[in-house]
């Protein structure tokens, strides 16, 4: 029962409802659309804000507390693309390149899913550790590198491994997350104070606008659902749950709190749709973008922000709490 209340609390938050409004707007072919410049600006703002807040928290966290979750996150970033790849190859009988491309996305992380998970926890009185944003930065890159390495073990590739690596490492999400972390850690809580109204108080509202546009974009993906086939739809829901369970199970061996484990589960289960597509498009041009974008954006993202996150919280409470 209580879990149903919690589910309703998530579904009835302005952020999720804005996503739904975006989907509806697209379905009725409204002219509503955030200007690309604004949408881009919001994504820069959100990523930098996450980084800054993570950095400020990190400056207050002893290494001994952080090291366990950090190592766990790194491990999950290395192992989840391998899991995803093997499921796609063996169960889905998908070709090597497309399997690696999708695995890169499901191994990496969606910053927005992370934010929604944090928000959900805070809203229901179960805030995770403050250093979680630092884990996002750790989780983002390794999976993409691992998945591309799997693909590049084959010869005669058209894409450029070097360009792809540069793309992901110098991509704006890494620069903003890592840069924000370092700035936040250097300035500390006191230095952060003057910029707090902008980066902290405005954050939830900015997220509402961002998710409105994400809804519009995701709705465009829904049209491709039949093209990707039943297997990928199932994959986009079940593999996140699998990754979530794995995360929570492993989290109990670290110092992570219940909400911390739940948020990490949401992160690990999420699929990247900013850093990974850019890198994969360059490194694996033969891979079909319809597969990985529809999976990440049309299936897994909506699943996670609506049902997934409350599920991970429930599982974390049940397994650890």
């Amino acid at each position: 029962m209580e879990n149903l209340d919690v589910l309703a609390a998530n579904l009835l938050s302005p952020v999720i409802l804005a996503f739904v409004l975006g989907v509806i707007a697209a379905l009725v072919r409204s002219d509503l659309k955030l200007p690309p410049a604004l949408y881009n600006g919001l994504s820069i703002y959100l990523l930098l804000a996450i980084g800054l807040k993570g950095g400020v928290e990190l400056s207050k966290t002893p290494v001994s507390v952080f090291i366990g979750p950090a190592l766990l996150t790194l491990f999950l970033g290395l192992i989840t693309p391998v899991i995803a790849y093997n499921i796609l190859r063996r169960l889905g009988r998908m070709d090597r390149v497309n399997s690696a491309a999708i695995a890169a996305h499901y191994g990496s992380v969606s910053a927005v899913t992370f934010i929604v998970a944090i928000t959900f926890g805070t809203m229901t009185g179960r805030a995770p550790e403050g250093f979680m944003p630092a884990l996002v930065a750790i989780l983002e890159v390794p999976a993409i590198v691992v998945a591309l390495m799997i693909a590049f073990m084959r010869d005669g590739r058209a894409g450029s491994w070097k360009d792809a690596l540069h793309e992901v490492l110098s991509g704006r999400s890494v620069i903003l997350l890592v840069g924000g972390l370092v700035i936040g850690a250097l300035v500390g809580p006191e230095g952060f104070e003057p910029v707090e109204p902008f980066f902290y108080s405005g954050f939830q509202g900015a997220l509402v606008l961002f998710l409105l546009e994400m809804g519009i974009v995701a709705a465009g993906r829904l049209r491709d659902l039949k093209e990707v086939g039943f297997f990928l739809v199932a994959f986009g829901i079940l593999v996140p749950i699998l990754h979530g369970v794995l995360t929570i199970w492993l989290a109990q061996f670290t110092s992570l709190s219940v909400p911390g484990a739940a948020v990490l589960a949401a992160m690990v289960s999420s699929a990247s749709y900013i850093a990974a597509p850019a890198a994969v498009r360059i490194a694996l041009p033969e891979a079909n973008p319809t597969f990985y974008l529809t999976g990440a954006l049309g299936i897994t993202f909506p699943f996670n922000v609506t049902l997934g996150i409350p599920l991970y919280y429930a599982m974390a409470e049940w397994l650890i709490g």
């Binding site: 690309p36 058209a158 974009v217 597509p277 850019a278 994969v280 498009r281 360059i282 974008l293």
Partner: protein, 102 residues
């Protein structure tokens, strides 16, 4: 008339934004002395692209000599046609002081 008018080729490439940097480097190597970029969106035979998320397509226009135009067509066709959304075409143009661009 104290300025010269030179017949050149106007090569237009419309492609995914994500290729812009790489492509421009190559185009300069192939002999383009300059280029003009505009943001574009579009639809073609291929559907979705990664750069949809990254923002719109890019349209590259270059005034070049016939030889350079040919080299650019060859290169783009060989390197990008199979896997990326890309369209390339050539037109005639009379360019003021066009000798600068050869």
């Amino acid at each position: 008339m104290h300025h010269s008018i030179v017949p050149l080729k106007l090569v237009t490439i419309v492609t995914e934004r994500i290729l812009e940097d790489r492509l421009l480097r190559t185009l300069v190597e192939l002999g383009a002395k300059g280029y003009t970029l505009t943001q574009a969106t579009g639809k073609g035979s291929r559907g979705v692209r990664a750069s949809e998320w990254e923002g719109p397509d890019t349209k590259i226009e270059m005034l070049v000599s016939e030889d350079v135009a040919q080299a650019i067509l060859d290169h783009v066709a060989e390197t990008f046609f199979e896997h990326y959304a890309v369209i390339v075409y050539v037109q005639d143009a009379a360019v003021v002081r066009g000798e600068k661009y050869i």
